[in-house]
Symmetry: C2
Amino acid sequence: MNMNTILANRMSTVQRSFIREILKVTEDPEIISFAGGLPNPRFFPKAEIAEAAAKVLTDDGGAVLQYSTTEGYRPLREFIASRYKQKGIRVKPENILITNGSQQGLDLVGKVFLDTGDLMLLERPGYLGAIQAFSMFEPIFQGLSMAEDGVDLSQLASALKRQPKLFYAIPNFQNPSGISYSAHKRQAVAELIAKSDTVLVEDDPYGELRFMGEEFPLIHKYLAEADWDKSILLGSFSKIVAPGIRLGWICAANEIMDKLIIAKQASDLHSNFLAQRILYQYLLDNDLDGHIVRIRNAYKQQRDLMVQMIAKYFPAEVQYTKPEGGMFLWVTLLQYISTMELFEKALKEKVAFVPGEAFYTDGTGKNTLRLNFSNSDPEKISEGIKRLAQAIKS
Amino acid sequence: MNMNTILANRMSTVQRSFIREILKVTEDPEIISFAGGLPNPRFFPKAEIAEAAAKVLTDDGGAVLQYSTTEGYRPLREFIASRYKQKGIRVKPENILITNGSQQGLDLVGKVFLDTGDLMLLERPGYLGAIQAFSMFEPIFQGLSMAEDGVDLSQLASALKRQPKLFYAIPNFQNPSGISYSAHKRQAVAELIAKSDTVLVEDDPYGELRFMGEEFPLIHKYLAEADWDKSILLGSFSKIVAPGIRLGWICAANEIMDKLIIAKQASDLHSNFLAQRILYQYLLDNDLDGHIVRIRNAYKQQRDLMVQMIAKYFPAEVQYTKPEGGMFLWVTLLQYISTMELFEKALKEKVAFVPGEAFYTDGTGKNTLRLNFSNSDPEKISEGIKRLAQAIKS
């Protein structure tokens, strides 16, 4: 059988995630890895999750283990809606759909909006998981440059004239760059979106992980109520509770939500109900905000140390972002250096990162790289940055 | 914003699952529902799952709650491969991908194979979840009639000449009809597939629920080794353990598996790892086969009773299948009776079923209906069939 003739066209362009392939290389315990996007497992609430699991299975095991609704567990949706409300974003539980992490949110948004050849806008560099998810629906990507305070507005304004269906953005501590949008940029993006026929897909997995600087509302909040149907929010429990429970959500206006629910039904009927019930019980019995403060404090120390070590050991011409939250730091080397080649050298020094070109849809960014600081304890950060500096200098 | 212009074409044809809408209607506790496809929660191993959850979270919580591999938990994949081996099907753990129930398997198969306008074959009536999942990729469906011993071979032979990409079949206790393929039909289907350029997607969620009659191997086993790349198997823990853990699998040859893994990465990175670890621990510490025997015995009693009651109370001209396993029974009324209209009358009698036309892609089947016998205890079956007979007679 000839595979090339029987496979769908979309499979000819999509590759396996380079990051996930890298994660396999870095399973060697001698390698210090800044490659993955993993939260620090030290802060997973293991005992509390175990207690929640015992409780829901004992009290309501028949229901917990049965099929459930596509939309997700109602009290969990109410919890998410009420957290939005605390941030001044008024949404109803009906506007929340529980997904398998926010990655599935991307897939569902792609399913609902994208036909082959449709134009969509991304940040440049952009989140690899989003590029992968949307690629499956064969859009044409246009990347918009990122400045230190967010997306380039003139590029966005002119790109919106071409009537793209979607603009996908991570306003807080963007993956991979660590950049956050200024209040001015958020306001300006909202105004441009309001005037356009484009839906803003605002992904915010890291927003709660701010450990310094001023917090700004999501771009959604800068939109007038009449334009709420132009905004889709994605969220996740992966970074504030744990990724292994694989739960995130989409928040969208009614008409879009109806379509997302159809797409979700077709994709997997509903999200893991056992996990939803365990998570909700955990949230009910514990102080999530207190837990997040502990994570922030640790990540701040790790970020500060990584920035210090880079300042001390990297060549002076190396540029890097100094994020105010999140999990990543973005490094730009001199133009002629290939971080793909550097990756091989770094592996010999027993340290790993993600070469930046994976985050570009146009083949550029070859002198950039992403470093994760959330999943390494201080000793590893010190030692790892020294090793990486060694590799760069060689 | 004009939704019709911004949504993807695929959303204009796909509807919300009528079954899932029905399930909402039937939440009224006074209604006896034969509508859902739910296993009986009496047999969910609640205490054992609770024990398994406590164990994995206590022993290995950091890993259990972290991101994991796209392919799924290796020991769980080994468990599935070894169960296939017991049935004479030799596959490696590398050929198993863990999914969010077998419904996600359908979505991934659609993603990997189907371009808009591609032809694919289904049984007629066919499984609604599959119709929904594949619809998202906008194929042209061709339904093949089902006889009492499986699909119509001459229809299959002539349809394969049109080079469909896929033939989706449920060889054991098909949903919705309850029909199982004879050994002869399995052999014949394998021979036709071997000569074709079509991939057989063999879904077997109910195969382990045989409570009478002779068991035959999956169609896969009738294929020569050289043709294994023409067969994809789908399986699920939903009916033999519990649906709330939302875990199933795809089994495919290497080259197809590579593509399925890419599609899975793009869809949601990986299946719920907490649930995978809990399930595996449960399987390790308990006797799954003994558990399945208990389910089978109960379902046999429920099926026997439903068949008896139908024979006693339904008008003589009503035809119905007498399945040897699974969860469903298929009823055909006189040609002029609309089961959609009957549904409204039945609701007034406080009994529910699924009108059969939902399982046809060509608008036929209006005088058919599906009854579920797995999720009703004997008293409800007796009373419910009496009520339904009343509605039919009126």
